[in-house]
Every structure is written in C-alpha cells, then in structure tokens.
Symmetry: C2
Subunit: 389 residues, 2 copies
C-alpha cells in the first residue's frame, strides 16, 4: 500500500479525514457529500481504478484482511468506517488496540457481521423476529423443519450479501456442505405482505434520525426498486417499525447508518429480516429525495457531527437499481435516457458491466407514485438492456 | 506538471473525461456531480492541495498560462472547460489548433474575458446596456462624464472579479494609472432597484435551459446573498430577462453555463451589467434548490449530454456566501451551526481563511423567504465571525 498521501489530506480549518475500508459504490457515494461538507474522504481500495478510487484523491490499494495495511491507512485518518461488513475481527481488534476511532465500533458491527449473534441479541431485546435456530447438524435441520414446517430459510451466518449465502431448503441435504464449514442459521419462512426497510442514523453522542419507512421490491434476491415512503403504510406500523429501529440503534450502540430490513406480516405486524450498519441500498432514494441523504448523514454520524434533517423533499421518491446486462458500452443508452426524461437523477458507479451486477441506480422525485415507478424502472431496464426502447 | 495519470482516467462503459482549467471552488463543486453522472473530472490546478485538487483523483499542478502544460493536460481529457476566464488567448489558440474540444469555445469566451468586446456585441444585438465608452485618454473620460453625469463606473476590460477592477470615479484622475496600461471601459452609473441574475445552460447541440431569475445582494462589491426566485418579480420582466439570456447564449454560441448579471431599473426594465461563462455564484442555490444544479448542468452541457430539468424543488431557496473572517479554525463554529439548524445545506470549499475570501456557502430551501434568509445569513455570519451567537 502507498501509505502516505503525497499532499496533506486535511483541508484548512480543522476539518477531519474520514477513512473508509473498502472501495465499492457505497464509499464512492460518500465522496460527493464529503466534498460539500468540507471534510476529506480517503478510501482503502481493492483496486486502483475501482468504484470509489475513481472518486477520491487518496485511495491506496490494500488488503482489508491485513492488519498492518489497514493500520497504516487508518493512521492517516481521524475516524474509520466501512464500505462492507467483511473486515475480519482481528483487524478490527488491531485498530482498537491502536486507539483508532471506528464507527460502527467492532462491538456493534458484530451484529451486522454475524447473523446468529444478531438473532440472539434481537431475541433478548424482544424485537419481533422469525423463529430461528443455529443448526450444527443434519439432525438439527430436520428437527427445526419438523417444528416450523418446510421449506425453511437457511443462511450462512457471515459473509453473505445480495441473496448470496441464503437458500430456501426442503431438507437437511440442501445445506450439507454448509454444515461442514460451521453452524447454519435456520429461519422459518415468513408469509409476508411485502418487504420494508427502516433507515436510521445514530451518532456517538446518541443523536438519532430516521428517514420514512420504505418499501423494497426484490427480484431473485436482489433489490430492484425502492419506494419512499412505503405506499399506504399504516401509521401505527410505521411508528412501531421506526421505534424498533431507533431502539436497536441505541441498544446495539450503532454509530453511522443502520438499515433494518423487515417483513410486513399478514397480521399487520412485522419481523426483522436483516441488519446492515452502513449506508444501504434501501436508502439510495434519500440522495435526491431528502434534505439530508444517507451518505452525508453517515459521514456526519461517524464524525459525531450533528445530524441533518431526514425530511423528504417531495411526497414520493422512487429508486431503481441498474443491473448490468450484456452490453458493456453504457454511455449511448445513458445519453438517450437523459434526453427522454430530464428529471431522472442518475447515479453511476464507474463499474464495468457484468450481468446482474449493480452498476448504478436512478432516482425520480415527485408525487405520482405509479408514474415515478414507471420512469425509474424504465431507465434502469433500458440501461440493463432488458428493454430497447 | 505530472502529465500522466497513474491509473486510467476513464471509467468503464464509454463515460468521458472532462478537464477543467483552474482549481478553485467552481471546479471543486463540479466534482460531486461528476461522480454521480459517472464521468471523470480532471483539474489543472494552481496548487496540489487547493480547493478542487482536494476533490478529484487527478489534479496535476501546472500553469494555465503555459500552452505546453495546458496541452499536455488537455490530451488526457475528452473536453476542456474552465474554472475562470483568465486563460490567455494564445493558450486557447494552441488547444484549438490541436483539435481539443473546448466549451465555451474561445470565440464565445472572448465576450466573458473582454468587457469591451461584450459591450460592443450586446449593443449590436440590441440587448439593453448602460451607456458606455472605451476611454483611451483622460480627455475621453472627461467627455464621457460630462455626457452621462458624474460619477461614472470605470472597469478594467479584462481580468477583474468580485469587485476588483471596478471603480466609481469622479474624474479622469481616478483612472490615470489604468489608462497607462490600455483602454478603460466607462459606463454610466445606473440607478437600479436591485440586482438580478439570469442563469442559462446551453449545449453544443443548441439545447438550452433556464433557471428562475434570482436576486443577488451585494456588499462592497461582493455577493453575500442570493434569493431564488427574485421576490415579487413581474412575470413580464422575468420573461424578458430570461429571453435575453437565452438569446445571448445562442447569439454568442455559449456552451456550458452562462450567467447574466442585470440591474432592474426604476422604469421596470433592465440593463445587463456583466456576463460570465461558467457556473456562477448566483447559481449556487441550485445545488440544493433545483432538480438539476448548475455544476451538474455545466458538465452535461460541455459533454453535449441532454440537459437536466432546472425545475425548483421548493418555493424559495436562499444562498448566503461564507466570507473568511479573522479566525482560521472553522470546524467548531461549523459544528455549532449544524446543531443549531439541521436543515442547513453547507458547502465548504476547503480553503484557508482570509478576511473577505469566499470560503463556502450555505443554502436553505423552503417557503418562508424571510425566515430562510435569516437562517442562511446567520450561518454565514457566524462562520465569518461577524456574529458570535
């Protein structure tokens, strides 16, 4: 790693440096807000021309699994935060031993890294969850399935994302390989009406702010659309879910953005599906649809700056993810879209096209939900090559 | 100049590279929009840790007055645009000879660089202007003053900004030194109601978009506040001024953002005061107050991408400039402000504090003009140290 920036990282006036471990699109989308806040963003990147490395002045390439590398990077920064949940515990411990401020802290982050720890802690807190069990063996799997009914959801406790590491299983044989590597989280399959997400930011001082509860629409385990706020959500459920998110943020001592993915259940209640402690796909709408977007808010939170207003700017914002298709030269399609709809808010990630890969998203802000959804989905589908006009 | 970027500048997918000559805050504020658009922004900077150099991956330091330096920089980019009007004609000619696309073009830029050329051209086009004259001698000055009445406004034709190069004179003696260096632009002092600005973006294809006409409030020749839209502006005057701006953009073949500073006159009409062919202080409000802000729009225009909607997001946006005061450590005051008003949209320029220097601005978006103005001005004054609570 090129551990020393060639020019001073700190801007004049006492404005600090935030270092992000990981150079994906979440780190990239922090770069614009960092510029406007006047702070400096540095990125420990996987590759010199990756998504976030394109967007910041200092993005040394280094292995986030190597304590010495991460420590050398962190010593140039005032606070460290994360693009993903995959930084190993020994690396986090090395940073903590060196007195490096980290937000979220390793003690909080464990609940986003380890789904078994998360389920156990949420259970203690009385937060609604699906029935679950840590299965060590085929017998455990069989017993759990017999108890809650097949099929059952099986999850690798650590390292999964975007539907990877999650299976719908009909019996122990489906997770035989996973069981060889360690315990597997089993969850009952919840009959849900739809998927929602609660997005919270919390600062080390304990200030918290919540954006409106959103609906997330998935295809093949990948989020394709988010509507903010969720359509026709009962005030009571919105309040309960938001309060659960705020309570979780406090109880787990989360610092930065916390995303709580929930299922709205048939009885009008909810159960928590997943947690993430970082800016999250379900909050991308806020970049254009709220006074303070999630990337700016995450930076404020990890710096213990006062949080900005999460107030929406319009009745509805719709976000659609752009997934890679078969055609790598996006720019002509992109041009066409900008001409077709001058109100589109495009966000491209500087990533090469691979089928199914998240390479950008588009926001549309307004009042007519169906029309906004059509516009956002059209743009995403056109860039993906799913539609050609 | 370090003329070769260490990693490829172009993101995958055919997204281009925009190069900006000059590394001030206008270039800096293009960086965030460039990231989201997915394009690459490169900056030819005055200093390695300057305002824009802090915000982009590749910002070689080089002299914008040296043709070889600028050419080497420009060859890494797909199109060149400008942070300021001071690039000398021979440098522009060298780029043109090398086939480098420039927006605005040198032929257009001359009207922003040379106020005498601007006055002559605007006169030809029948755009309302103050009475003016190019004075070569003390006799010319005396004759013009006798004709239009003293005092008279005297301007250095090239190189001025923020009130520098402008004087209110009572006689030829006040501009004796200027006259030794070349002709001086004289203008009658216009009795005006207030100052307005028309902001237009125009692309090489000829598409144009106009933001609402704003009011700019100056102190000591420096803009301190902008209200968008201008309060109580008659529809007819707004339409006439906007049409004049659009016509100017077309007739002068401006590409990128064009700012037309105008005086609203006592008779309900207007005269043009100044032109700028770049994002402009009078358009900073649009970063938070419009669907498409001026920095994004400038990038779209110079790339000949379709322009975004200039539609306001709220009834009123107020911008206040933060001018440097006596105290260099801004961050504690900044923290205080964010806590006091979670709706503030701060934009800091990464610049060291010098008294009177523009070091940032703040936008506030909403409906109550007086309250928005109070909030924006309070924030700016507090950061400037003009007020202490």
């Amino acid at each position: 790693m090129d551990a020393t920036p060639s020019t001073p990282l700190r801007a004049p006036g006492g404005f600090p440096v935030v270092g992000i471990i990981g150079g994906g699109q979440l780190a990239r989308m922090c770069a614009g807000p960092a510029i406007e806040l006047g702070i400096t963003l540095a990125v420990l990147a996987e590759e010199a021309d990756g998504s976030a490395a394109q967007a910041v002045r200092w993005a040394p390439v280094g292995d986030y699994r190597d304590p010495a590398t991460v420590l050398a990077f962190a010593r140039e920064c005032d606070v460290i935060t994360f693009d993903h949940e995959h930084v190993p515990a020994p690396v986090l411990a090395a940073l903590a031993d060196a007195g490096i401020p980290m937000h979220p802290s390793p003690a909080a982050l464990v609940y986003a890294q380890d789904k078994l720890a998360m389920r156990a802690r949420l259970g203690e807190l009385g937060i609604p969850c699906p029935r679950w069990q840590a299965a060590q063996s085929a017998e455990d799997v069989a017993a759990f399935g017999a108890e809650v009914g097949w099929p059952v959801i099986a999850k690798v406790p650590t390292g999964g994302y975007d539907g990877k590491g999650v299976l719908v299983i009909d019996g122990p044989a489906d997770v035989a390989e996973w069981l060889e590597r360690g315990p597997v989280l089993l969850e009952e399959r919840v009959d849900f009406v739809r998927e929602l997400a609660v997005l919270i930011a919390r600062s080390p001082s304990g200030q918290a702010a919540a954006w409106p509860v959103v609906e997330t629409i998935q295809q093949d385990g990948i989020c394709v659309e988010v509507q903010a706020p969720a359509e026709g959500l009962a005030d009571e459920l919105a309040a309960e879910a938001t309060l659960a998110g705020l309570r979780l943020a406090g109880e787990l001592a989360v610092t930065g953005v916390l995303a709580v993915e929930i299922f709205q259940t048939l009885d009008g209640g909810f159960v928590v599906n997943e947690l993430a402690m970082r800016p999250h796909n379900s909050g991308h709408w806020s970049m254009d649809g709220a006074v303070t977007g999630q990337f700016e808010q995450h930076l404020r939170a990890v710096l213990d700056l006062p949080l900005g207003a999460p107030t929406p700017l319009a009745p509805v914002t719709v976000m659609a993810n752009v997934l890679g298709g078969d055609y790598p030269q996006l720019y002509p399609a992109y041009r066409h879209l900008l001409a077709r709809d001058p109100g589109l808010r495009m966000h491209m990630y500087g990533k090469g096209v691979r089928p199914g890969r998240k390479i950008g998203h588009v926001n549309v802000v307004g009042a007519d939900r169906a029309q906004l959804s059509e516009r956002a989905r059209h743009a995403a589908d056109y860039l993906s090559g799913v539609i050609t006009e």
